[in-house]
């Protein structure tokens, strides 16, 4: 362990006193500090505004049914976006997580079907199913990280490759057809709702957000994740094993995609080879809308949560006000560009 020296090295007391803070000529005006402080939260304002607009257009938004469908819709995107937040904070990207979601769900469903057919208990089958999906996701993520760090390939290329390869795999499992022989526990998870208001799957996603959010914002691992994206060379010089850390980051993304695969399966009560397709784009959008920089180093788990809720609200809200579903994607696209553009403006203001 490195040794810290006692706080003995103070220059002689005769040194002139430091100039009082706030008196230096280049001080930033106060309103810019306000922009900084509000800046991190403007996205919450956007969410509020969307609620207001859709609510005014159709008061159905404030019903239990609308809340349930919004929260239900958000589950898979939220789980993927948590992992994506870690990845994007390091300056990387994971294009494979939607494909991993689909593949882990299919593999797990197929194995569970086999177990049930051979007479295993449904509880054991459920546990094995979860463990398998999470383990496969973890391994695919770790493989991504390994290729990125050992072969020094860009994350975009590696995960695009896994998106393509892993994305095709579900159609090779169970003859490419849905698996519907699943333990009843899976269906119960999908249907269950705490107090009738909070879907079990949504609860799982929110707990995962909190747990991984604390892991990101309160632990050494999280701090180093930021450091790598903020200044990779400085992180290396500080003694961080950057390559090993990145493998873990991509593995976390894969692991959460595996969990998402189980939640989607629970929600639909079948394992479908079509699950997860293009989900990665919405997950990345959620993270970016939530204020993360694609260059790494900047972002927040709370922002990711709000970003996911904005996308879910948009999709559900536009349906409520009878707008053609394709418009959702148009609006999402505009919001992504708007979020990044506003962020750039904010950065430029911060540099003043």
């Amino acid at each position: 362990m490195p040794v810290r020296l006692p706080a003995a090295f103070s220059p002689p007391a005769s040194a002139p006193p430091a100039r009082p803070e706030g008196a230096s000529p280049g001080e930033r005006p106060a309103w810019l500090d306000l922009v900084d402080r509000v800046g991190d939260f403007w996205i919450v304002g956007v969410l509020g505004l969307l609620v207001l607009v859709f609510g005014l257009l159709n008061t159905q938004l404030f019903t239990k049914g609308a809340w349930l469908s919004i929260s239900n819709f958000s589950v898979e995107y939220l789980l993927l976006a948590i992992g994506q937040t870690f990845v994007i904070l390091t300056g990387g990207i994971d294009l494979s997580d939607g494909a991993v979601l689909g593949f882990t769900g299919m593999m797990s469903g197929w194995v569970m079907q086999g177990m049930l057919n051979s007479g295993d208990s449904s509880l054991l089958t459920t546990i094995v199913g979860f463990a398998l999906a999470i383990a496969i996701g973890f391994l695919i993520g770790a493989a991504n990280g390994f290729l990125i760090t050992r072969l020094k390939l860009p994350p975009f290329i590696v995960t695009l490759g896994s998106l393509t390869a892993v994305g095709a795999a579900p159609s090779l499992v169970n003859g490419g057809t849905e698996v519907s022989t699943l333990p009843p526990q899976i269906g119960n998870i999908g249907n269950g709702a705490v107090g009738g208001w909070i879907y079990t799957t949504f609860l799982v996603a929110v707990v995962a957000t909190v747990v991984f959010g604390l892991f990101l914002h309160r632990t050494r691992f999280g701090l180093r994740t930021y450091a790598i994206g903020s200044n990779g060379l400085a992180a290396r010089r500080a003694g961080i094993n950057v390559d090993r850390h990145l493998v873990w980051v991509y593995a976390i993304s894969g692991l959460l995609a595996g969990l998402a695969g189980m939640m989607v399966m629970a929600n639909q009560a079948v394992a479908s080879p079509l699950s997860g397709q293009n989900d990665e784009l919405d997950a990345i959008a959620a993270v970016v809308i939530g204020g993360a920089s694609l260059f790494g180093g900047r972002g927040h788990m709370l922002g990711t949560f709000v970003g996911t809720m904005i996308i879910s609200l948009l999709v559900t809200g536009l349906v409520l006000v009878n707008v053609n579903g394709s418009w959702t994607e148009v609006v999402t696209g505009i919001i992504i560009i708007g979020a990044v553009a506003l962020d750039q403006v904010r950065l430029r203001l911060a540099e003043l």
Binding site: P2, V3, R4, L5, A7, A8, F9, S10, P11, P12, A15, P16, A18, R19, P20, E21, G26, F215, R218, T219, R220, F221, L223, R224, Y226, A227, G229, S230, N231, L233, A234, A235, R236, R237, A238, G239, I240, G297, R298, A350
Partner: protein, 282 residues
């Protein structure tokens, strides 16, 4: 660690006639850190051509030279971030070969890099503790739960020593002025450097008054026994502060001067190569 070479540290084979004063090699004293015959090239650029350097306990050694002379390259080799093409580094007389900056840091060799090596998005305290984070006691320690309060408090104390005002240790390093960022890098190195401090232009972004404070800090660190290798273009300050000044010229040590025995202008003429030319033609 030991290669085929002997672990004995050879005497510097360098030209003893260079400059009016070799290292103050006290009887039987072993340099805290030393380089022998260090070379380094980047492609066809020969950045270092066989550099010998000794730094003894308690010394402040100035390393000066024109831009591109190889100063930063030498510092990066001593701090483990770069590996020399040939030559050897000795720490307390023991041959070492660093494969990463972590190994150098573990030996108490701390560096203020010319680029400061700060993560702009991390808070000041996080930059000071990056790679050596303090975790809380208790079960949360197992997940690496940070003791943010403790780190913020010691960071504050570390920075006080530089006597340069940094508003809050919680603000991101990237928000601070160039001088403040330099103060973080200096404060961090002083806090952790238990064997030797390597400072690559630590005062370049500072005002006159702040440069003085860093100078005082350097002297006080050295007086505690931790030697400092100081790179700076502020030659009057180098002349005042250093026990010895080593001049690099195109990747070679051309002079080893004692400020007590020479004038600032002499240092300048070694830096520009004028003295070298004069000696050759003499």
């Amino acid at each position: 660690m030991a290669g085929p070479m002997a672990d004995e540290m050879p005497e510097p084979p360098g030209d003893q006639a260079l400059g009016p004063g070799q290292a103050p090699r006290g009887e039987g004293q072993v340099p805290v850190i030393a380089a022998r015959g260090v070379t380094k090239h980047f492609g066809s650029v020969q950045a270092l051509r066989g550099v010998d350097l000794d730094i003894y306990a308690g010394e402040v050694v100035g390393l000066v030279g024109d831009n591109g002379a190889g100063k930063s390259t030498l510092v990066n080799i001593l701090s483990g971030g770069l590996q020399p093409n040939s030559g050897t580094i000795f720490v307390d007389g023991q041959r070492v070969s660093f494969s990463s900056s972590l190994e150098a840091r573990r030996l108490g060799i701390e560096t203020v890099y010319q680029d400061l090596s700060l993560a702009p998005d991390l808070s000041v305290w996080a930059n000071i503790f990056l790679g050596r984070e303090q975790t809380v006691k208790g079960p949360l320690r197992l997940v690496g739960w940070l003791d943010r309060k403790a780190m913020a408090a010691s960071a504050e104390a570390d920075l006080e020593r530089t006597r340069i005002k940094i508003g809050s240790v919680g603000s991101p390093a990237g928000r601070l002025s160039g001088g403040q960022r330099q103060a973080i890098a200096v404060g961090r190195a002083v806090a952790w450097g238990s064997r030797v401090l390597l400072m690559d232009e630590p005062t370049a972004a500072l005002g006159v008054e702040q440069q003085e404070r860093v100078g005082e800090l350097v002297s006080s660190v050295a007086s505690q026994g931790v030697p400092v290798l100081l790179i700076s273009h502020n030659l009057p300050q180098i002349h005042r502060l250093c026990d010895r000044v080593v001049v690099l010229f195109r990747g070679q040590v051309v002079a080893n001067l004692r400020p007590a025995e020479c004038h600032v202008d002499d240092i300048v003429s070694w830096i520009t190569g004028a003295a070298l030319g004069a000696r050759r033609s003499a």
